[in-house]
């Protein structure tokens, strides 16, 4: 067998993989056998799988990973080593393009790689890429926690859990996620809002300074309490939600024939999907220790947390830029009346004597100090700069390299960010496609496209929802009036159905003209729809020179035009000829 044959095996393999459009055990088994029988073509097969992962639709990438997994676990070397070379890139570049439920499955898959061993008892993959993937997941996903800590019966300080700040950060991320979800269902839930603010502060403190073991442990206990109560709250919410939804929509879990544990298909509703993650899976995605049965009211939770934090360490805090110190000061010094009418369960704590925190919920970036009155507005306070900095930069660390828009760190925002990048990509390729012949100019400055549309009328405007269009599969493609506009009498000007014609000028005596390219005669015809005489299937190339071209001749001469409308760039080109 020469190199060429091996290459062909790889290509055949790729073709076969195209059937892997759903999660099919037979296909995966089959392909695994083929891979086993052709280990000499392993480099090509590996390339084929990687290519498949890269090229497959987002909805189908996961199945290609299952194939990769199956090959590696069943055959092992040399596939494990070969896949290992690009494993980080293969995994992460696919991961970012996936939706949340699929990401969850990717994480589940990845977790099996941490423990799987090859026939000689060594780890399945080379350690380096696996470690990098793990670091990546820790960074981007709050539902992934490092080396799943085994659940403990009680968080006794005597046990020696692997304590590190990252763990706490993850915990905070998870609580943040829970609170955000709660907030999404009940936007008026200001408690969650406040909590979110507190959490982000706490996180900063943890990130920015070294705490010793016992301190961390205290904080951790607090956070775990908080997580627990948030989770309870969410479960209740979900229960309410489920009652409201049709029963058929629930329990939509489909067993999937996979080497992994069973995964459930998440339902469509994005909210529910999030809830499902936490509740329906039954498992505790964070691997958190179950804490006692006490359902501590959340407020006292963060109050305690804060008092502990303050007591423990905060005073040591020194970096200027970060708002925490300032923020805490303001927290402590402004016993402002609050809008809070619920009862504050305050606390038996042995700490804190004169703390004015007692009678107010622990807020955070205390926005309430920003009154809408002239004297407040005219003050130039560091507090407002710091608050601003926190909200605009710290809370949103991920800046889009293309447009500067920022995204936060939650799963939801990471998803939005992925969608956003996708969108840039689609638009850029569309613009490039339209303008790719612009001589020498980067991309799109040479040629024009035209699919201008009309403005919406009042009723359509009333019904329009910007974000729905945004996150539709092809928001970039919307030329408004089409599907969004049900108003009669509105021209639907999608690009494809533009008619090409030129009205016969009044000055024309014989109602005919010559094609400026092939020199054939073009005869005027009366168009019933338009109610006027026109040269059908013709264009002026948008020049004002009076020249008329067959549309076909014109677009042949300008292949990039396709069936799109004429461009200013072409116009220029023609005038110069």
């Amino acid at each position: 067998m020469d190199e060429k044959d091996l290459q062909n095996i790889g290509e055949d393999f790729y073709t076969n993989m195209e059937d892997l459009t759903f999660n099919s055990r037979p296909i995966i088994t089959n392909l695994t056998i083929i891979a086993e029988e052709n280990t000499q073509a392993a480099p090509y097969i590996v390339k084929a799988v990687e290519k498949r992962i890269d090229k497959a639709l987002h909805t189908q990438k996961l199945f290609a990973f299952y194939l990769l997994d199956s090959i590696c676990k069943n055959i092992g070397s040399p596939y494990t080593l070969l896949f290992g070379d690009n494993l980080f890139k293969t995994f992460t570049s696919a991961y970012v393009s996936l939706d949340d439920p699929t990401r969850k499955k990717m994480i589940d898959l990845f977790k099996t790689w941490l423990t799987a061993k090859n026939s000689s008892g060594l780890p399945l993959f080379p350690q380096e890429p696996v470690k990098k993937i793990e670091e990546f997941l820790i960074r981007v996903s709050s539902i992934y926690q490092k080396r799943v800590t085994p659940p403990r019966q009680s968080p006794t300080p005597t046990s020696t859990p692997p304590m590190n700040t990252q763990e706490l950060i993850n915990l905070i991320n998870s609580i943040t996620l829970l609170s955000r979800e709660k907030l999404r269902v009940f936007p008026s839930d200001t408690e969650s809002l406040k909590k979110l603010d507190v959490l982000s502060k706490v996180k900063q403190v943890i990130e920015s300074q070294g705490m010793d073991y016992t301190e961390l442990l205290k904080v951790k206990t607090m956070l775990q309490d908080m997580y627990k109560s948030e989770e309870e709250a969410l479960k209740k919410l979900l229960a309410v939600q489920q009652q409201q939804q049709s029963p058929a929509m629930n329990n939509m879990s489909v067993p999937i024939p996979m080497p992994m544990e069973q995964v459930s298909v998440a339902p469509e509703h994005p909210l529910k999907r999030q809830f499902q993650q936490f509740v329906n899976t039954g498992s505790n995605p964070l691997g958190l220790a179950p804490i006692g049965n006490l359902l501590v009211p959340p407020k006292s939770n963060y109050e305690q947390l804060f008092q502990k934090l303050i007591k423990v360490k905060l005073i040591k805090y020194k970096r200027q830029r970060l708002p925490t110190k300032q923020f805490l000061k303001s927290l402590l010094s402004t016993p402002r009346t609050t809008t809070n009418t619920t009862t504050n369960t305050t606390t038996n704590t042995t700490t804190s004597t004169t703390s004015p925190l007692k009678n107010r919920p622990l807020i955070t970036i205390d926005l309430s100090q920003f009154d809408i009155n002239s004297s407040t507005l005219l003050k130039n306070t560091t507090t407002s700069y710091d608050t601003f900095h926190q909200l605009m930069f710290v809370d949103k660390p991920n800046k889009c390299a293309q447009c500067g828009k920022r995204f936060g760190k939650t799963d939801r925002e990471m998803k939005l960010r992925a969608d956003h990048l996708d969108w840039h990509f689609r638009v850029n390729s569309k613009l490039n496609q339209l303008g790719n012949s612009g001589a020498g100019s980067a991309g799109n400055s040479g040629l024009a496209m035209s699919c201008k549309a009309w403005y919406l009328d009042d009723v359509a405007f009333f019904k329009f929802r910007d974000l729905e269009v945004f996150y539709s599969d092809d928001g970039s493609n919307i030329t408004t009036n089409g599907d969004l506009h049900d108003n009669k009498g509105t021209n639907t000007t999608s690009v494809s159905n533009v008619k090409h014609y030129v009205p016969v000028p009044e000055s024309s005596l014989d109602m005919q003209t010559q094609c400026g390219i092939c020199r054939e005669t073009i005869k005027g015809q009366y168009d019933d729809d338009l109610g006027e005489w026109v040269y059908k299937d013709a264009t002026t190339g948008n020049s004002n020179s009076g020249k008329v071209f067959h549309w076909s001749c014109f677009s042949e001469a300008n292949p990039q035009v396709n069936n799109r409308s004429v461009s200013a760039g072409i116009k220029r080109k023609f005038e110069y000829e």
Partner: protein, 456 residues
Amino acid sequence: MLVSFPEDSILTKHIIKLKTDATIVEIEAKSEWRFEVAFEQKLLIKVVEGNAEIFGTELANDIEYKFTGAKASIYTHEGCKLQYQGEVSSEYISEETEMGHYINLHLALENIRNTAGSKAPNVLILGAKDSGKTTLAKILSSYALRMDRQPMLVNLDPSNSVFSIPGSLTATPISDIFDVEEGWGNTYTSGPTLLHPKQPNVRYYGYDDINTNLKFYKENISRLGLTALSRLQVDLDIKRTGMIVDTPPLGLKNIDLIQDIVSDFEISVIVVVGNERLFIDLRKKFNGRLSLVKIPKSAGVVEIDDAFKRKLQQRAIREYFHGTASTPLSPYTANVDYKYIKAYKPASGNTSVDAGFNPSIDQLGYDLSAVTGDAKSKSKLIESVENNSANLLYAVVAILHADKKDDEDVVARSSVFGFAVISGADDDKHFVRILLPVPGRVPDKAMIVGEFRYTE
């Protein structure tokens, strides 16, 4: 105020390429770099270090932004380094910035938005000419957007071109960042764009100055208010954020108009920029009924002289039809008989008697009956225009959603479907040549002709 792109491109590019010297500007935290670029100039700016923003919109790093015909400033919260290349009419760094006040204001609004049980603020910005109202409106909208909100930006200054052409009044949900080069950005009426397009509701008043036909102006703002509020009621993203309303220069003498706007848009916060007397007067007027705050006029606001403003307006019209250098569009020209054109203009004799028209200020306004009932009893809002070259040649016309057979009343209340320019009119042959944004037949719709003219 910030728009861009000259006729084009290839020639200008070469000039720029010759001048390769790039200048680095270092801006300290909480300062801004102000620059002016004339229409015949072109400036390229890149953030090379740190974070910077233009009127609230953060710039991407290491990406070149092009400016032409612009007066703007770049603010940095924590300090940054910029690189620029090309020509500027003026540029300097200033530590004297109003950004601190703007930030306070934003946080205060955010506080209201976060307060349970309270309605999101609808903010009205008032002030004299060149006091920085539009800049403030833009910054507040950007900041709200950056906090994942969706404000509705309303422009009531017909001399501005916000997501439309001059002479229009618009309400636009801001669902994505502004285009800092363009000033505002694209709408759904253009093709694929580099940023998410916006979807405005557009009404056409047709004049630069609100006093030219105050009655028609008022009719349009109350209609716009009706549409904007209706959308706000049902669109939760907007409802939770509220509106930001920018205005033409209004003063003490416009107090009735201000009251109209307050009720038309259910204003809950008024921000007066640099006009102490107006502030005091409004405090008496609205005593306790809404939040009233003042902010000093920004030292950085440059005077936009008339010539500059006209150029901005002409450019806005050109870009409506032809797009920009980065997203060019090709308009469409049609020849039609006069009989296909049905044009109106705002009725004359409506000039600047502020007292004449007073649509139900205090009865929680904008219900349909109030306005239509009023329409019957009062004189006409619009009148027919005879089709001839004197009236139509080079006129910018607003094509309305109303059918050309519709009643005058309906036409007067209709919002804008699109714009066209009558680029030729032959009285002998009874033909007009009309420039349309969208290929196809001339829509069977009524049109409004104002004072704006345009030639290619």
